[in-house]
């Protein structure tokens, strides 16, 4: 047996010498983009929206022959990994995409719980990452390689508080939020801070825990506090429960929400109860024009529903990634150089015209962009009501 094996070892080692000496091919043949999405677990709809929007963006680019970088067209390929809506799943998915699949740039994860650890992996491995939807400041904080596609809680909270006070004339506000989820909690606290700073009073600050379906105890307390407005920065699949139960209990004040309301499913689940409510978001689907309308129509035609905010943000993020790769000028095929080049290009992006508004990245990798307040009209559409921009932007 050994005598037979010996020549094999010799052949193998000879082959090794020859093969390692072989030069690698010049430049990549395609551009790989990794998508780290919540396909299963708590929020599968977010993962679905991410996947669909990314597929539309890639299809658009590839039907035009690919992405043109430095005079050469490259086909774009996306690799979608499920992060199971857990921190360890997001870490594993990010590590796989970055170190195994060797993607040029990673899009996602979406929710902060996943985006924070995924951002850690991206930053440690020096691969650019954009989270379209994560609003927690820590996702990008001290991480030069991590960017995001949406505004942050400390911006959105005051926008909502100001709207409640100025437009709805509220003096007393009630807040109901999920204490075990960082997005609603962050926003609820920012809202409270801003509302109280403006001289308002938060008369009820009630919480529940993720996956709760019954809010009657909290809402009964809120009703007893007689607020002028109820602010509930919850996800679109919890909002119908909250709003319906609030109305059942005889709470009649206006209800105000945040960008997580922005899903076509909201009205399907909520029906008439949500009409007349307001929420702050990235874009208004009803009466959208230009590129935004094009995207909505395309998505609607292909998948049968109006895209959620997460879809729109992912679509924008994809194009930001495309632009950064183009701005890079040339792909060398050496991953380390190309990733660095894309990351630098991302940081330099100014006034990018996306379907969710115009954006410029700050040093932290957070975009400066406007928010819009949307009113749910009697037809159940998300109608533009007012826009609120950070200082220095019109």
């Amino acid at each position: 047996m050994f005598k037979k094996a010996l020549p094999l070892i010799v052949v193998l080692s000879a082959a090794a010498l020859v093969l390692t000496a072989c030069p690698t091919a010049k430049g990549p043949s395609e551009i790989l983009i990794g998508i780290n999405a919540e396909m299963t677990g708590d929020i599968p709809k977010v993962g679905e929206g991410t996947k669909y929007a990314a597929e539309i963006a890639v299809e658009e680019i590839n039907s035009a022959g690919g992405l043109e970088v430095g005079g050469k067209k490259y086909p774009v390929k996306i690799i979608i990994e499920d992060n199971e809506s857990t921190a360890e799943g997001a870490t594993a998915a990010a590590t796989k995409l970055i170190t195994q699949d060797n993607v040029l740039i990673m899009i996602g994860a979406q929710a902060s719980k996943q985006a924070i650890p995924a951002g850690q992996v991206a930053n440690d491995n020096e691969c650019p990452m954009i989270s379209p939807w994560s609003t927690n400041p820590r996702t990008t904080l001290d991480r030069p390689w991590v960017f995001r596609g949406c505004f942050l809680d400390p911006f959105q909270g005051p926008v909502d508080a100001k709207f409640a006070m100025d437009e709805l004339g509220a003096k007393k506000a009630a807040v109901l939020y999920d204490v075990a989820s960082d997005y609603p909690k962050g926003l609820a606290e920012e809202f409270k801070k801003a509302f109280e700073a403006m001289g308002g009073q938060v008369v009820a600050f009630e919480t529940f825990t993720t996956k709760d379906k019954d809010f009657s105890a909290q809402l009964t307390k809120i009703k007893a506090a007689e607020p002028d407005v109820l602010f509930t920065p919850q996800y679109y699949d919890e909002v119908p429960l909250i709003v319906k139960q609030a109305r059942e209990l005889g709470i009649t004040c206006p209800i105000l929400g945040s960008d997580s309301w922005g899903s076509a499913e909201l009205m399907k689940l909520c029906g008439d109860a949500c009409k007349g409510s307001f929420f702050s978001t990235h874009y208004a689907a009803a009466g959208a024009k230009g590129k935004t309308k094009e995207f909505i129509d395309k998505y609607n035609a292909k998948y049968g529903y109006v895209p959620d905010d997460v879809g729109a943000l992912t679509y924008d993020t994809m194009y930001i990634a495309f632009k950064a790769i183009q701005d890079c000028g040339k792909l060398t095929g050496d991953l380390k150089t190309d990733r660095k080049c894309v990351c630098d290009a991302l940081a330099k992006i100014k006034n990018f015209e996306g379907i969710t508004g115009r954006m410029t990245f700050t040093e932290e990798g957070d975009p400066i962009k406007c928010a819009v307040i949307v009113k749910i009209n009697d037809a159940g559409e998300f109608e533009f009501y007012k826009s609120a921009c950070p200082e220095g932007m019109e």
């Binding site: 708590d42 919480t207 007893a224």
Partner: protein, 316 residues
């Protein structure tokens, strides 16, 4: 705390508790006969809601509305879910009847997780809600004046409580007054001697798996009318909570499951509600889970076999 506030919370608690109780009954029934914690029960509840959704969509589609639409949805969903339950027992649990108890438990966990992901894979991630089965007015709030303050309720809540109580009474009758029920009780006393008396084990177990899942299906449909979001993971937390309710009441005991369900509902609602008192302001809703589960822990330390549970005598 005013009187209206108290009664409002009481109503909330009773309604939440009645749903917990219905699901808890399913755990307890199966446990009583098979000594099996059927961890798939929460997901059978989910399946019941999904089946209810498809039946209701079909019925509303052909123009059958209130009241027959609702009754038929409830009935069909109960029947189909019972079939599912019997099928699961036949395929997954029966081959393991002589296996160590905990291998069956882990199979049950696996069946539950399998149901969830089949639902996710087959029906997609979209949330659904039942088409309108009840008249609009049933969902709108009605107010009663209690000493100057208003108590609001919907007829839907009343309906849920009434149907739950009705189902519990029917179950009680089946278990207390029929031969099958007698056999079920007998098996829970002694599962070795009873088959020797000529009681057909397989049939009794099948009946148990008809009763439990059909109650879960009824709970699922009512849950979906009150909380209109149907999704693959909806049974997860509710299932665990109902399991807790069943055990706190004394698992294997039918009264125990009902009482346990209501206790859990009351604890969850009143931990939040009592925070209204300045002296109890530490009981804010933030601490709800902390306080609620600490209370359950204390109940079990004081009564180690649950409220109705009889301390099992160990043969020495």
């Amino acid at each position: 705390m005013t009187l209206a506030f108290f009664f409002q919370q009481l109503l909330n608690a009773v309604q939440l508790g009645s749903i917990y109780a219905l699901i808890a009954l399913g755990y307890t029934l199966v446990y009583g006969v098979l000594r099996l914690i059927n961890f798939a029960h929460g997901d059978i509840f989910m399946a019941g809601a999904f089946i209810g959704y498809f039946v209701a969509t079909l019925l509303v589609g052909v123009g059958i509305g209130w009241p027959w639409g609702f009754i038929l949805t409830l009935l069909f969903s109960m029947i189909l879910t019972a079939l599912l339950g019997v099928g699961i027992e036949r395929v997954a649990y029966r081959p393991l009847r002589t296996a160590p108890r905990l291998s069956v438990v882990v199979t049950a966990l696996g069946v539950g997780l399998l149901l969830e992901h089949i639902a996710l894979g087959a029906f997609g991630a979209s949330r659904r809600n039942l088409p309108p089965l009840l008249p609009e007015t049933w969902m709108q709030s009605v107010e009663i004046n209690i000493m100057g303050e208003y108590l609001s309720f919907t007829w839907l809540k009343v309906l849920i409580i009434v149907i739950s109580l009705l189902l519990m009474i029917i179950l009680q009758v089946i278990v207390r007054r029929t031969k099958a029920g007698m056999a079920m009780r007998a098996i829970s006393y002694d599962k070795f001697a009873v088959p020797l008396m000529g009681v057909p084990m397989d049939r009794i177990i099948a009946i148990t798996f008809i009763l439990g899942p059909s109650l879960a299906a009824a709970a699922g449909v009512m849950y979906a009318t009150q909380y209109p979001v149907i999704e693959p993971y909806m049974g997860l937390l509710v299932g665990w909570q109902a399991f807790i309710a069943a055990v706190v009441g004394g698992i294997g005991d039918i009264r125990g499951a009902m009482v346990g369900g209501f206790i859990l509902g009351f604890v969850q609602i009143f931990v939040v509600a009592l925070g209204q008192f300045p002296a109890l302001s530490f009981l804010s809703s933030t601490y709800r889970d902390l306080v609620a589960y600490a209370l359950l822990l204390i109940i079990l330390v004081v009564k180690p076999t649950g409220i109705f549970g009889v301390a099992t005598r160990q043969k020495v």
